[in-house]
């Protein structure tokens, strides 16, 4: 007969084993998913030293050079000189399903033009290929269909263009290509199968010849990285990112009527007196006009990192909310004997349940991220609109008028002239305001009476 203790032990062991197996079963899909990535490697080349790419960033390379003349983003990219054959490869993550974008710049000068070849490999075994190569005076694009065949032509030179390859693990495995932001090719599938890719080779596609053109490469990533910076200002989406990049936020009423957009980011333009105005028009003001007269409080002449310019005054940021603070534990140092022990025990127990300030800050920031998301960001923009309008009501502004081409402000100096109204000294301005206020209040009471009548009718 089984003793009570033995039965309890067996039950306990069985429970523990069940728990462990359960946890493994529940979590193993995550471990498998973590073993594979949707990219092989990402490289922006910005941290490398100028010169030979070889042995930098785990690249095995011949003749590719790190350069800072032409780049899609950041400070550096690589290029293949026209005097040598360029090869480069790097092994990265295992990827069964994924996507690659590589930014390519092919010069129009050169005979033949320099092309590029991408090889997707398992170890050293090539599985997929994409190639741009000049054949019979035409820049042809080749890819696996599944055998290597021409799938199109390359037409854009002297500008950065994306080359994209996407692959999917399945039955069967399939892949497709896209270049120069055109439509994706059809999905191809067939005799090429892979369990994963873990290496991509980037090669210059022509044997070295002094007459060849050049090919530049930058930003190997999962998606096209649209960088908001000088030269690519049109990728800046908001006023703030635009200004920080040293670009200008273009605004014109004509553009607004035509495109239905209030403004967009453009390369810096010289100031123009004609376009100078408040808000998004500040950028067009010269130093002499910036923040003067009507523009006071709306525009300011400052250096925001891209040289001095006329910028819209930053909107009033609401006072910083009190960040959640963790209460401090009781100070036991001044106590003694049993009281000190009790105090320390209390602190110990409280310490178990008390969060650290660091974690509280993380929680605060995480919840704060909702402010950037719909619908909260839209609601906050509306809230800001009404607050600014409400604040603007506090001040009286001048009214500009244009007569025969001459612009002047309406002179309201007579507004301050005083007189006696019903025995009380009052300015003309406030008397008129009082009068209109009474008219408004009478109108309001009329409405109120009508509502009451309507209610009982």
């Amino acid at each position: 007969m089984m003793s009570n203790t033995s039965f309890q032990k067996k039950t306990l062991y069985a429970s523990i084993i069940t728990l462990i197996v359960g946890v493994i079963l529940l979590t193993y899909p995550f471990f498998i998913a973590f073993a594979y990535e949707d990219y092989i490697y990402i490289d922006w080349f910005n941290d490398y030293n100028l010169g030979d790419l070889s042995s930098q960033g785990n690249w095995t390379s011949a003749n590719w050079q790190v350069q800072d003349e032409k780049k899609w983003e950041g400070s550096k990219g690589i290029y293949c000189p026209n005097t040598a054959t360029c090869t480069a490869n790097k092994t990265g993550n295992l990827s069964t399903t994924g996507k690659y974008v590589i930014m390519v710049y092919i010069t129009s000068a050169g005979n033949p033009k320099q092309g590029i070849q991408l090889e997707f490999k398992i170890g050293t075994t090539k599985k997929l290929e994409f190639r741009i190569e000049e054949v019979s005076g035409e820049m042809r694009v080749y890819g696996n269909t599944p055998s290597l065949a021409q799938i199109g032509t390359w037409t854009n030179f002297d500008s950065w263009q994306p080359v994209e390859v996407e692959w999917e693990d399945g039955s069967p495995d399939r892949w497709h290509y896209r270049w120069e932001n055109e439509a994706w090719t059809d999905w191809y599938s067939g005799t090429i199968t892979w369990s994963y890719f873990n290496r991509v080779d980037v090669n210059g596609s022509k044997v070295g010849n002094p007459n060849n053109g050049f090919v530049y490469v930058d930003t190997i990533d999962k998606e096209v990285q649209y960088i908001c910076q000088l030269g690519t200002c049109d990728y800046c989406e908001t006023y703030n990112t635009c200004v920080e990049a040293g670009c200008q936020w273009y605004y014109s009423e004509q553009a607004y009527l035509l495109f239905g957009r209030g403004g967009y980011c453009v390369e810096p333009q010289p100031p123009s007196e004609e376009d100078c105005g408040a808000f998004y028009k500040c950028q067009f003001c010269s130093e002499e006009l910036c923040g003067i007269g009507e523009l006071e409080g709306f525009c300011e002449w400052v250096d925001k990192g891209a040289g001095y310019g006329c910028y819209m005054v930053e909107p009033t940021i609401p006072p910083e909310q009190v960040v959640w603070e963790v209460p401090e534990l009781e100070d036991c140092s001044e106590l003694s004997g049993v009281e000190k022990w009790l105090c320390e025990i209390k602190n110990f127990v409280a310490g178990i349940f008390m969060p650290s300030q660091e974690k509280i800050n993380v929680l605060w920031d995480t919840l704060g991220n909702f402010q950037q998301k719909f619908p909260f960001n839209y609601i906050m923009a509306i809230d800001r609109f009404f607050k600014d309008v409400s604040e603007s009501l506090e001040e009286e502004k001048s009214i500009p008028i244009k007569i025969f081409g001459a612009e002047q402000n309406v002179d309201f100096s007579f507004w301050e002239k005083t007189g006696k109204v019903g025995g009380v000294v009052e300015s003309i301005g406030s008397a008129i305001k009082d009068f209109t206020s009474i008219v408004l209040i009478i109108g309001f009471f009329t409405w109120l009476l009508m509502v009451i009548r309507r209610f009982w009718s």
Binding site: T238, Y239, E253, F353, P355, L363, L393
Partner: protein, 94 residues
């Protein structure tokens, strides 16, 4: 690391990985940048400068408060009317 820290780590993970990614930043037909640009740029500019002239003659604060009360009152009025109508409809009374 306290129990509260573990809980907060779990909560922030759920927020960052599951809940936050569900919320979009932009509406498909009106991106936030466009909305913000129009509302707090063009529209606000025109609105403020449009009101600037009126402010000399009319107490705009009073005007907006009264307009707000009228809008709120009308909504309340029609809500109550609708409530009475529904009650009558359900009771079937004349």
């Amino acid at each position: 690391m306290s129990i509260a820290d573990v809980l907060i780590t779990l909560i922030t993970w759920v927020f960052q990985k599951i809940i936050l990614p569900i919320f979009p930043v932009n509406l498909p037909f009106l991106s936030f940048a466009t909305f913000q640009g129009i509302l707090n740029g063009t529209l606000k500019h025109n609105f403020i400068w449009g009101l600037a002239g009126l402010n000399h003659f009319i107490n705009l604060n009073l005007l907006f408060i009264l307009v707000g009360v009228v809008i709120f009152g009308e909504i309340l009025f029609w809500t109550i009317k609708a409530g009475f109508f529904l009650v009558k409809l359900i009771r079937g009374g004349g």
